[in-house]
């Protein structure tokens, strides 16, 4: 109990700069944790969606049926369709729309649907990667802020020491403890932020990879369809 009182009185008794450093580190830590949890929710959801949609897509279901199911789902619930299904929907929508145009070249159809999918993919990537740079910034900067607080605190402690005629440890000890507390807070903010940043960048990379793979696979299916249809027409 005595220890804890010491920490509290230390924070209260810190210099203005020390208080500013501690406060900003506390705010940075809260910010980074908000992003850590929010990103965790988003990325877990995306991973789950990739798994579920791939299973559904390769289950041999009719593609137009899959598209209609998605439309119904959009109407029924107030959820937005994300990730791989979003890619599928934009590509398929563009494909059917272009194919209904009379006298259109099948290469143009393919090109259009691929462009639509690329746009959707860019959007998905942006959603997944949003706020990740903040984590990286907190991870690298908060250590420096803490270091600044420590250096400042130790400098102040030495000034106090110089003002005394007799040097004693009791004069400098509180200042140095306060200074070290700043570094500790900086590390506390930085470690989870760096860990989460590395973990989440890897996850986002793997999810984006699976999106690219899916886009290629789906384009090849569409290409086959367009090609077959043209052959029928010419035959």
């Amino acid at each position: 109990m005595g220890e804890s009182m010491n920490i509290w009185s230390m924070i209260i008794g810190a210099t203005l700069i020390g208080k500013l450093v501690m406060f900003s580190l506390f705010v940075l830590s809260i910010l980074s944790w908000v992003i850590i949890v929010q990103k965790w929710i988003i990325i877990k959801d995306a991973e789950k969606e990739v798994f579920n949609f791939e299973k559904l897509f390769w289950s041999g279901m009719d593609l137009s049926q899959l598209f209609r199911d998605g439309t119904n789902k959009l109407k029924k619930e107030d959820v937005s369709i994300i990730g791989m299904e979003n890619l599928f929907r934009s590509g398929f929508k563009e494909f059917t729309r272009l194919r209904q145009q009379p006298g259109i070249d099948s290469d143009a159809v393919m090109e259009g649907s691929q462009r639509a999918m690329r746009v959707a993919l860019a959007r998905e990537e942006r959603v997944l990667e949003r706020h990740l740079p903040i984590l990286a910034t907190v991870g690298s900067v908060s250590v420096y802020i803490g270091l600044f607080g420590t250096v400042w605190g130790i400098m102040m402690a030495f000034f106090d020491l110089a003002a005394q005629s007799q040097a004693s440890l009791a004069v400098v000890a509180p200042g140095i403890a306060e200074a070290l507390f700043a570094t500790e807070m900086g590390l506390f903010a930085a470690i989870p932020a760096v860990l989460a940043f590395n973990r989440y960048s890897a996850s986002v990379n793997s999810i984006t990879d699976s999106y690219y793979t899916f886009m290629d696979e789906f384009s090849s299916i569409l290409h086959r369809q367009a090609h077959t249809r043209r052959q029928e027409k010419t035959a």
Partner: protein, 281 residues
């Protein structure tokens, strides 16, 4: 259609998952603050028990018709019983009146006796009361005396304690003063020693084991007014060098700041001991 089924993430995903994220972050930091500060009041709050919920049950009225019939039967029975009681009462009243006359006579006799007895008792009680009052007065006087005595003793004890405490405080202050003085003496001695040592040129003839003791007289401004060798090292060059060192230092301006009593006690007549091995020879 497993995809479209409700899954627990759906609740978290509202507003891109920000509300639960903010909540979790605040919780984590609240927990951290709690661990760091470990506020005992907070802990008391957390032990607060849930107040139990009491449910009271009452039976509802059932079958009103049966109840009404039961009431009718009861009323009839009551009426019959009342008539019976009326008859019995009339017979009893006659007997009672005769009995009453007889009892009245007895009662008067009794009352007379009673009054006599009560008067006697009253007299006795009055006497007893007076005695008790006197006794109480005496008791009160004794108690008052005892109380005064106790107060005096307590006062005495308090004074003694206060005196002891004052004495203890004085001792403590003295001890603190002595300690501070000792520390100051150490500091100033170190200053003097350093200054002299800086000015000391050790002659080549100096050998380990040589010891020269100097008596120095200082004035409160820190100036050296006399140097005297009270124990020679046996080597004239060494002795000279030592004396020269003090003369060259000439003045210790740091000593000006110290209190007069301390100076008189420790620094007016200063003894310095010189050994060549002090300087890593």
């Amino acid at each position: 259609m497993t995809m479209f089924a409700f899954h627990p993430m759906a609740l978290l995903l509202k507003h891109e998952g920000y509300p639960p994220a903010v909540l979790a972050a605040i919780l984590i930091h609240g927990l951290l603050l709690y661990i760091i500060l470990d506020n005992p009041f907070l802990r008391n709050d957390m032990v607060d028990l849930d107040t139990p919920v009491y449910i009271s049950a009452t039976t509802a009225e059932e079958n009103p018709q049966r109840l009404r019939r039961l009431q009718q039967i009861q009323q009839e029975q009551a009426r019959e019983a009342a008539a019976q009681r009326q008859r019995e009462q009339e017979a009893a009243a006659q007997a009672a009146r005769e009995e009453e006359a007889r009892r009245q006579a007895e009662l008067q006799e009794q009352q007379r006796l009673e009054q006599q007895r009560s008067e006697q008792e009253l007299a006795q009680r009055r006497q007893a009361e007076q005695e008790a009052q006197r006794e109480a007065q005496r008791q009160a006087q004794i108690e008052e005396q005892q109380r005064l005595e106790r107060q005096r003793q307590e006062q005495l004890a308090r004074e003694q304690q206060a005196a002891q405490q004052a004495e203890a405080e004085r001792q403590q202050q003295l001890a603190a003063q002595r300690e501070a003085d000792a520390r100051a003496v150490d500091t100033y001695s170190a200053i003097v020693h350093n200054t002299v040592t800086r000015n000391w040129v050790i002659p080549p003839s100096a050998r380990n084991g040589m010891t020269a003791v100097l008596a120095i007289r200082l004035v409160p401004t820190g100036e050296v007014i006399s140097v005297e060798i009270i124990q020679s090292s046996g080597d004239a060059a060494f002795d000279r060098s030592v004396e020269q060192a003090v003369r060259r230092a000439a003045r210790f301006p740091e000593l000006q700041g110290m209190s007069t009593s301390l100076f008189e006690a420790s620094f007016r007549n200063l003894t310095l001991t010189f050994r060549p091995e002090d300087l890593l020879r």
